[in-house]
Symmetry: C2
Subunit: 211 residues, 2 copies
DNA sequence: ATTTTTTTGTGAATTTTTTCTCAAATGGAG
DNA sequence: CTCCATTTGAGAAAAAATTCACAAAAAAAT
């Protein structure tokens, strides 16, 4: 079913958007949706959607469209989010706490099972269901808790150190919220969430309206 | 100097990364950097950097490279971030508060000047320097405070309503943290910051390692 | 039963983005 | 002053992504 062809990152990102919209449609009781309708809702071209889906297989019915429920299940399946992914947060400051309290994450298949910080005054403190643990114990905990994804929310000048701990712990995927690039071995995947990049895009666009 | 050609969004996004790295280099006392070196640090191809910069003009010296200080200034200038942009946050929950307390934002040229929520129990409460104001007063405040960017951190089912208030207030740029698409007039720019999209990319990559 | 309408899936065409190449410029060494 | 080592800027080539266009399939209408 899955073709061997490399699937572009943008396709995966759009897939996440389609999934979001499909879940909204399901909630509204829609049973079937056409690529044209979904495209409108997501702000893309309809053949974009069909091409994206074609990387993974055939999911539609000609003359009808896609069954919302089934398509959601298929997408979750091939994106690898039918099951729950255990995550650890490193750096329990403003943003780390916000993410710890972000309830909808678990609905989306991600569970924060470890909260790590290096500040002795924070270690032992409880946030929600979790106790803040010393970053040095990440390696030991990663195995016990089956942690697959590390989330960095330390200040930028500490991000590399946090990354080193995560890599040391054998975790192969990192989301980095600190606005700095980190160096990791080739077999570790890093994705950056950079708020200021988005703001910069907006300021640039505002500055160049009509040009 | 600035060519009339449309500048791709990815170029602007990479520009933000170059800027980040250049500022780190400046802090370390580096005065000159070659596109090759910068490319290595940012994890891109060196001609990518030269092509990206070419959209805006010529900034390098052949045989030498780029003067870090000057290049930073040039980039800030053409991205429109030499000046400060006033922003409003709509939805003062976990994430909204984290952003309000995010001090480095102002260093990057963005100032949160208004905090809005619709919950009567929150209105009047102080967070940092700001008092939480009723969302209905956004329009009036947007003018007084010269707000140019709206940041949505409401629950997803309230994001459209928040967007409507922002549009009503005459603000032309929105960052939406809620995991849902919003509808706005053509002259309003929306950029989405979606945490789960990043997590999905990682789970997909982990699920397909070596395929 | 046949025609019409709808909508998918996919090759082909187009557009966009990235990478390759190299002449031209610069500074330093001899 | 000439030669050599660097490195930019930009045209050409290659690769990737998007959009077009339409046959094939399914359902609805006649
Ligand atoms: N606050 C926001 O809304 C926001 C938004 C976007 C990006 N960011 C980025 O996210 C990061 C965190 O921001 P914040 O506002 O939460 O900062 P913060 O200072 O409130 O929190 C940082 C936390 O990291 C901990 N820490 C430092 N070094 C560590 C290490 N080596 N190992 C483990 N923990 C360590 C600190 O003890 C602190 O608790 C920053 O890089 C910031 O630029 C923040
Ligand atoms: N918490 C996180 O770390 C995190 C991470 C990524 C994305 N998000 C997204 O960000 C959004 C906010 O998350 P949160 O955890 O802060 O939620 P939250 O429930 O803590 O906060 C939401 C706030 O929005 C306010 N609100 C509701 N409707 C409003 C309206 N019409 N106008 C103004 N304010 C309104 C509520 O009163 C509340 O204060 C959600 O959409 C969430 O999916 C959160």
């Amino acid at each position: 079913m899955l073709k061997k062809e490399k699937i572009p990152k943008v396709t995966i990102q759009r897939m996440a958007v389609y999934l979001q919209m499909l879940e909204e449609l399901e909630e509204e009781g829609e049973e079937v949706v056409s690529s044209t309708r979904l495209a409108e809702l997501c702000g893309v071209n309809s053949s974009q959607i069909r091409k994206d889906l074609a990387y993974f297989g055939e999911f539609g019915v000609r003359g009808v469209g896609y069954y919302v429920r089934d398509l959601i299940a298929s997408i979750k399946h091939f994106l690898g989010i039918q099951k729950v992914w255990n995550c650890a947060i490193v750096g329990i400051g403003n943003l780390g706490r916000a993410i710890l309290r972000y309830k909808d994450l678990s609905k989306k298949g991600y569970k924060i099972v470890g909260a790590f910080d290096c500040d002795p005054f924070k270690i032992g403190e409880r946030v929600g269901d979790l106790e803040i643990i010393c970053t040095r114990r990440l390696k030991e905990k990663a195995k016990d808790l089956n942690i697959k994804i590390g989330i960095i929310t330390t200040p930028p000048n500490r991000a590399q150190r946090a990354a080193n701990h995560i890599v040391e712990a054998g975790i192969k995927a990192i989301v980095n919220f600190a606005p700095t690039r980190i160096q990791v071995p080739d077999d570790v995947i890093v994705d950056y969430v950079d708020f200021s990049t988005h703001l910069i895009y907006l300021s640039f666009s505002l500055s160049n309206l009509g040009k």
